[in-house]
């Protein structure tokens, strides 16, 4: 097995911040889909006569 080149401290920090940015973006996407769903359904989601 070939050992990967050791990662510099600067590269490791940049990678960690990129990972955090991706996590935040994914979290924001989940919240966005939730908000769109609520907005499309409207305020009568629990009303049994609506459907």
């Amino acid at each position: 097995m070939i050992n990967p080149l050791p990662e510099s401290a600067e590269a490791a920090k940049a990678r960690r911040l990129r990972s955090i940015a991706i996590a935040l973006a994914l979290g924001a996407f989940v919240i966005l889909v939730f908000v769109i769903t609520i907005a499309k359904i409207g305020g009568h989601v629990a009303d049994p006569h609506r459907f």
Partner: protein, 325 residues
């Protein structure tokens, strides 16, 4: 795909998250958000504030995706131009394949979410805009014809139409009027810039108008487009879209625009490199004789477009009525 775009080289420095933000061309995004918001507000549709905000987000992300695809494809010429050589791909901070992937993912995201949140018309227009900018303009027109920014300008002109479609589900004549204003504004705006950046485009073989037809022809065409633009910019005051504030901005600003375009037409802007200043170090561009007139029009064109759309936005937000004739 270009050779440079196809190259896979190890990044010289580690990519920061800010480099990926830079791929999205944030300044272009801000302009697109502004014009898209104006279209959305002017439509007076039934879309609520939450879905309206989602629509604007989709327009912004779609514009960012187009920017990322543009930077992927144009990495070879970006690396050789002063204005663009600091971008993440030519600098080696982001690999071309990563810029391509980001552009594709964000394109699918923006169009998909627009479809789910708003509807098929706005999503379809957004998809068309992304494809038009990334494929028709970037991959085809930009390197093949001096009319590149004239035709390609349609991509930058469509956001108010998308905003209007998102809000109302239709695109009436007034929406296309906003599109026409930006479409006709683009050539005088961009050619004024290219009059004093022509060396860069000539060096990389991009057939911008001053490179192919010469500075005198470019100055003349700027004036012609300006003469067509100003009446079209004033037109919303007569179509039930703009009010007295808008008419004042479009009329007075238009007169100033024509004055600057006329002065530029009579100037020597772009004719030859100004030897007095070309050797100064640290300049972004080789400054050409008479460049001041070109810079003045370039700067004022940005202000004019901003004021036109800000006027419309303000009138509709505070409820000022359109003029009745």
């Amino acid at each position: 795909m270009t050779d440079a775009a196809a190259e896979t080289v190890a990044p010289a420095v580690p990519a920061r998250w800010q480099d990926y933000v830079a791929l999205l061309k944030p300044r272009v995004m801000s302009l697109v958000v502004f014009t898209g918001l104006t279209g959305l507000v002017c439509a007076r549709g039934s879309l609520g504030p939450v879905l309206g905000a989602v629509a604007i987000l989709c327009i912004a992300v779609g514009a960012g995706a187009s920017g990322s695809l543009n930077m992927w494809y144009d990495a070879d010429i970006d690396a050789r131009m002063r204005r663009t050589r600091g971008r993440p791909v030519p600098m080696g901070r982001v690999q071309g394949a990563d810029a391509l992937a980001l552009g594709l993912v964000l394109s699918l995201f923006s169009v998909g979410v627009m479809f789910l949140a708003v509807g098929v018309l706005a999503a379809g227009l957004l998809a068309f805009t992304i494809v038009f900018y990334a494929v028709v303009y970037t991959m085809w027109l930009k390197r093949s014809t001096p009319q590149n920014i004239v035709i390609g300008g349609l991509a930058g002109a469509l956001p108010p139409v998308i905003g209007w479609a998102a809000a109302s589900g239709s695109v009436p004549a007034n929406a296309w009027l906003l599109c026409a204003i930006i479409f006709l504004w683009t050539p005088p705006h961009f050619w004024a810039l290219s009059l004093y950046t022509a060396e860069d485009y000539a060096k990389v073989g991009v057939p911008m108008m001053p490179v192919v037809r010469g500075a005198a022809s470019t100055r003349r065409q700027i004036l012609i487009y300006s003469l067509v633009l100003i009446p079209v910019a004033i037109a919303p005051a007569f179509t039930g879209l703009g009010g007295a504030l808008y008419l004042a901005i479009a009329g007075l600003g238009g007169a100033m625009f024509l004055l600057l375009a006329g002065r530029l037409a009579l100037s020597k802007a772009g004719d030859a490199t100004d030897e007095r200043v070309v050797e100064r170090r640290g300049r972004l561009y080789h400054v050409r004789t008479g460049a001041k007139d070109a810079r003045n029009l370039f700067a004022f064109s940005i202000l004019y477009l901003f004021l036109l759309f800000a006027g419309l936005l303000a009138e509709h937000l505070i409820g000022l009525g359109a003029l009745r004739w």
